[in-house]
């Protein structure tokens, strides 16, 4: 399903404007600051993407690709930080009278 989704989303005919797809950097092809390109894997589908906006990315990193260009390196610590931050809110005890709301 995800595989099919990636192929669908990567085709020109069906482009979602602000969609960014996270993919794993498999191999650098060119590290020139302007022409930087790398092979990026999206759930099994590999595609050459432009990496001029994420020159710091290394093989194995996830990058967020939009319109063929990686616009951010995905911060895995950031993902875990969010889960840690949100956890207390999720575990909040219902306040008095909340039962009435459901």
């Amino acid at each position: 399903m995800i595989l099919k989704n990636s192929q669908y989303l990567l085709s020109g005919e069906r482009f979602t404007m602000c969609l960014g797809i996270p993919g794993r950097l498999v191999a650098w092809l060119d590290r020139d600051p302007l022409l930087a390109r790398a092979e990026v894997e999206f759930a099994g589908v590999r595609r050459v993407c432009h990496l001029a906006c994420v020159p710091e990315a290394e093989v194995g990193d996830y990058v967020l690709v939009h319109a063929g260009v990686a616009i951010r390196r995905v911060d895995s610590a950031g993902a875990e930080r969010l889960i840690a931050e949100i956890d207390p809110v999720m575990r909040a005890e219902p306040r008095e009278g909340d039962d009435a709301i459901r």
Partner: protein, 374 residues
């Protein structure tokens, strides 16, 4: 971790929804700025699930939808010139201009081609040096790095037959216009995650404070969205109005400095006409004079035209959150994704298309009596 499946986990989403139920003491009105989020909220069922506690107003974050009819006509005009190939994102193809859409122009013989990336358009130009290749650059700050990069690469590689018709829009002036409107109902914003991936969110602090409105940056997966909604509710219930980042795996406070450098090398801000908003100060990006040779507007000396917005489409009101798509009499009857009257029914980020696809079984309010009568 692949940064997709983990954020679609049903149990986590349900837990977040329950947390919202516990926290909300009343019904709040929120706006998700980005059309991608509108679609995700409707498709996942989150919008329906929380309807009694959260009224969602759908924001203007659909670049295809806010692109003015004049810009579309200009692109069609270019495509009709002999020797020109107009390339654009597939989403733009069926958006009606004043006379026809790009797809219509293509069937009438104009050279138009959908591409996934502006860099693909550049590669096409490199392979076909006798063809003038123009890329129709529609998109928010998310997309601007890609089109700016195409210009910089064209310059570096000495590709002379490539240019860009800039129609980029910047989202913050639209958020400001919404909050500043006398009839504004938005109490908190879900900010567009992928716009913030590029530009960051530091600049929102002033806006949040001035209008006393929480702004929460979030992503596009169901978990991201519910967490974003929860953060909004938490702030509203406790009387805060902070800028909060619920998408830290992708968004940093200062955005992506490398991408911003590339964008500001090629583009400068300008005033731009938005469908539904009119002229927004600082609402767009245009190509700097240094890169004039890659600016389709300067290269082809295009006539300034003033086009009327399509009369029966209420897309402008939908885009500014004033009405829901179903309040439009044409919704689902005269106007469908196959025969759209306006852009919000065409685009994969348009609110009308989202309602049509994901709320198909509900009769539109204004349509119901008519169907009974007939």
């Amino acid at each position: 971790m692949q940064f997709v499946d983990e954020f679609r986990d049903q149990a986590a989403v349900i837990a977040a929804i329950q947390a919202i139920r516990l926290r909300a003491s009343r019904r709040w009105t929120l706006m998700e700025v980005c059309g991608g989020q509108t679609h995700a909220l409707l498709k996942s069922g989150i919008a329906d699930e929380l309807e009694d506690l959260i009224e969602l107003l759908h924001g203007p974050g659909c670049p295809v939808c806010v692109t003015s009819t004049e810009r579309i006509d200009a692109a069609i005009g270019l495509a009709q010139r002999p020797g020109v190939l107009l390339t654009a994102f597939g989403d733009m193809f069926r958006v009606p201009g004043s006379q026809m859409s790009l797809a219509g122009a293509r069937s009438a013989g104009a050279a138009v081609r959908p591409v996934y990336s502006p860099l693909d358009a550049l590669a096409w130009a490199q392979r076909n040096p006798r063809q003038e290749v123009v890329f129709f650059a529609v998109g928010f700050e998310t997309t601007a790095p890609a089109t700016a990069l195409a210009v910089l690469q064209a310059e570096r590689l000495g590709i002379k037959n490539f240019s860009v018709l800039a129609a980029h829009v910047c989202v913050q002036p639209a958020m400001e216009a919404i909050l500043g409107a006398p009839d504004n109902r938005v109490q908190a914003f879900l900010a567009a995650g992928h716009v913030c991936a590029v530009v960051g969110y530091r600049q929102y602090a002033e806006l949040a404070a001035r209008y006393h409105t929480p702004i929460v940056v979030t992503g596009f997966e169901p978990y991201d969205l519910t967490i974003g909604l929860l953060a909004c509710i938490e702030q509203l219930e406790s009387g805060r109005c902070d800028v909060q980042n619920c998408y830290p795996r992708v968004v940093a406070e200062d955005g992506n400095p490398s991408a911003l450098r590339i964008v500001s090398q090629v583009y400068e801000t300008c005033d731009r006409d938005w469908r539904g908003f009119g002229l927004l100060r600082g609402g767009g990006l245009r190509i700097r004079p240094d890169y004039a040779e890659f600016d389709a507007e300067r290269r082809f000396a295009m006539p300034a035209e003033k086009a009327e917005e399509p009369g029966r489409c209420r897309g402008g009101e939908v885009l500014s959150g004033r009405i829901k798509p179903t309040a439009c009499a044409a919704f689902g009857i005269e106007c469908t994704p196959d025969r759209p009257l306006g852009a919000p029914m065409v685009s994969s980020e348009g609110a009308c298309a989202a309602y049509f696809h994901y709320r198909g079984l509900r009769l539109p309010h204004s349509a119901a009596p008519r169907q009974v009568q007939s």
